[in-house]
Symmetry: D2
Subunit: 291 residues, 4 copies
């Protein structure tokens, strides 16, 4: 089939390649002319035969919104837009309504895979009406990993990004689990080879997992991670997961602890711990560290 | 080689079978005469040619202590005792000293594998002096999974149980991660097929893991887990992990949250939340639920 | 001075009484005609001499919005609206802009005090332009407690509700602190009189506080809180506090733990702990409790 | 009455002064001859008329143990030893048994008050048999604050230190509550005067408390706490509280979060966050901060 693909960055570029390898035609547009097959959204739309499928793979928020605004003007009834970026699930229903007013279908799709996706395939979680999903299905089949799993029609519009968001929330807590365990092992004298302990866990244990494999790779590069700072960014998904939990009164203690650990990792000095120090000083004459 | 094995319950019995399949001789003792090859520890020791290796696989605490006390009297210098049970790592040094006073070696070994171990092998983490470990190595090789991983000499006496304990702490937080994500997905309307979302994650995602595979199996049995109560026991290892963290001033927020979630799951009614309700009632005339 | 007061429920009714005791004129409107001095917002506005001050004390959300919508039509340039309800601080700027377009001022005010406020005064945190605040000041002075403290001009529009929201977040964690301590004391045998321990803490300790006094009152009513269920509602402020923290990348582990404890207290059975039970069953053949 | 007091540091010295002000005789011993009334424990014991009461106020652990060992040899049946230090409650029963073997009574006493105790009195929580407590009662009455509260016979031997430990656990979470709230208020632009918000809360609010008063004092010294580092030590009691909770399967999420925040505050760089950074780098090619 033919696909229009908007956004040819690290993710989009590799996805174009994987879809082409599966025998489909991909016409890509990017503001960076060196990456692009066509040089405007209008040209992209004009190059495709209807009913068209246009996959949007640009940063969430303003960039995605303006792309969808423009596509709403350019596309025709019966066409379908896929938002494959990291949009917040709450945006999806708005986009679906905006496009439906023009007779254009909408599918939201969470994509996981990172730099490994080109070779191994991308895990896909998508939401939307069955008739719209059906039009995109050949592309989903090209992108997904080769085995029995790796893609799912998760539910209504928004369900794809919601499922991907929860995936990332789980990922935060799993990473935190390994990180906490690693720090504790490194802290004690009796365990003399923490890296080999991690390596051994790759078979026969309850915690064997891809993240464990990656941890071993990282430790093979830098046994005690001396070359890194204990500093971690967070993307929107972790925050949104906690917000969705609050909206639904679902307690998420481990995922939230993982998010907060990242916040704290980015503080040069902790304001709240200054207050703790100040209070200790007030009531107990406890020695505090001053600057 | 020859091995004496004390404790032939669910774990010990399967381990005897796996070691025998590897061509070694195992003489097993258990208080349950139906399971046992010999009918006393003395008979067990007398049946083995020196230097002997005796693997203790009985409940941690009093049962392990009394077995080691008795073996200290029966064994000879140059023999080695392995504690493969779930002993707290702090017990290991005491046992090593007690046996060393008689010239007997000691190795502690954490064993993971559960009901899957007989076929897939057991993950092994052991600690102790290299010369003592060497005497047990053929048994370790028989028990471990077939691949490159699955066993490790983690360090000094105690390091085996410590590494296994941390493994279990990590396991607690990984399970909690999937559980939190599952509850959140089940809570929202847009995601209409949570089980299929979990199934899809088994390939191409960051969170693919054996625990995820098990979650899918569980959901295949009982899609919304309606047949279960939200009640989870905890073994000693989770608690010990948090205690070890406190001893070493290592923050473990996600693992500890997972342990506390299990504690709370076992309370019919939460005393602390009664106090919250009482305080709300005092200051605000908030409606509280009375019995 | 003269004040128009919209909303004469438990809070509003007591506030009217306290302001009147201070010698001011209060004209109150409520949909419940038995409580009201006038029977429509129009009548309320017409009864006041300009420049008018109208205090809105109705439920946050739709009720507050529709009241402000109506007042925007009825009031005149130079009048001031105070939102004293539990509105989310993010609503305040919208309301301020909506009213400013008509030349009407806006002040947001968080009010704490509950059933004790009539006698002891209400703690007030307000935000807005100094000129608007000045017009309301006599009412603030009438409502606040008698001592040196209890009211503050916290900052710009929204700062009043934000400060009140954070107050409530702190309140959640302080209540949780006492609740956790109480449960732990009740759990051990050696402490034979937990209530008297709490009572003793009311002087000379670091933790003496009004909440502790209330805890003692509650225990005097019901020593072991046997008559209560461990069930706690949560108002919006706790949730908004965590959301504001996420927006600002501020880690709030204790306040969030307190919020999640309330969520969990309202679940008949915990879905996430069902998943934990299911996983334990899968990998270990652990006994789980079935229904 | 007559009291022997061992340990005349910051706490002990002030306590001697307060007891003397109440008209009692205090004979103090300290290794520092400048502070001491007598120059050995033997001289202390010989100076007191039987039945004697000796209050031990030295660091928990080895110093307390060796003092009790020596007193066990020097005292006579019918005498009573009070341990007023910060001993772990689990030590108390051992000390009680050791002394009971010589016919000597034992009372454990948790003392709160810090530098404010001399003037305001010390909050006291004690445990032990009623007959032993009775012998110490005049000293307890001299030390406690003047009001109706401030001292309690909490239960059996160990209950005094247990209650004091829980007090400190609650204190950790209350401090954390104010610290989190303060950081959040400081993080937003709309709130222009955080110190005045804290000051206002001292009357009419739910969170008014001595700790809040201290926070205001600290902010009056240093409005944004610029002169402090966000670094907080922890004494044993916070750790023991969490350990006691684990022993009793009581979930303590807020208190534990407060303890972990202190641990994290003392790390130059967080090992666990290095692992998070390493994993992000592995799977996503995320930019990480390297040294």
């Amino acid at each position: 089939m033919e696909l229009g693909l908007v956004g040819l960055g690290k993710m989009g570029g590799n996805m174009r390649e994987r879809i082409r390898r599966a025998g489909h035609t991909v016409i890509g547009y990017d503001r960076n002319r060196d990456l692009a097959d066509v040089h405007s959204l209008k040209e992209l739309v004009d190059s495709l035969q209807g009913p068209r499928v246009v996959w949007v793979m640009v940063p969430a928020g303003a960039a995605t919104q303006s792309t969808i605004d423009e596509l709403a003007e350019l596309l025709s009834p019966g066409d379908v837009v896929v938002d494959g970026g990291n949009s917040r699930w709450t945006d999806d229903e708005k986009h679906a309504e905006q496009l439906a007013a023009k007779g254009i279908g909408f599918v939201d799709c969470g994509v996981s895979g990172g730099v490994w996706g080109l070779e191994n395939g991308y895990a896909l979680m998508y939401g939307g009406d069955a008739e719209h999903v059906a039009k995109v299905q050949p592309v989903f089949d090209a992108l997904k990993p080769e085995g029995d799993f790796g893609s799912v029609h998760a539910g209504k519009v928004g369900a794809g990004h919601f499922a991907k968001m929860v995936h990332n929330g789980i990922e935060y807590a799993m990473m935190q689990a390994f990180a906490e365990g690693w720090e504790l092992l490194e802290a004690v004298e009796s365990v003399t080879d923490v890296r080999e302990v991690f390596r051994s866990w790759q078979e026969g244990t309850v915690i064997r997992s891809w993240l464990l494999d990656l941890a071993v790779r990282a430790l093979d590069d830098d046994e005690h991670l001396d070359r890194l700072r204990g500093y971690a960014a967070d993307s929107g998904e972790g925050r949104w997961t906690v917000e969705a939990a609050i909206d639904n009164a679902v307690p998420l203690p481990a995922i939230t602890a993982s998010l907060f650990a990242r916040f704290a990792s980015r503080q040069e000095d902790s304001p709240q711990m200054k207050m703790i120090a100040a209070l200790r000083n007030q009531f107990g004459g406890h020695a505090v560290e001053s600057k």
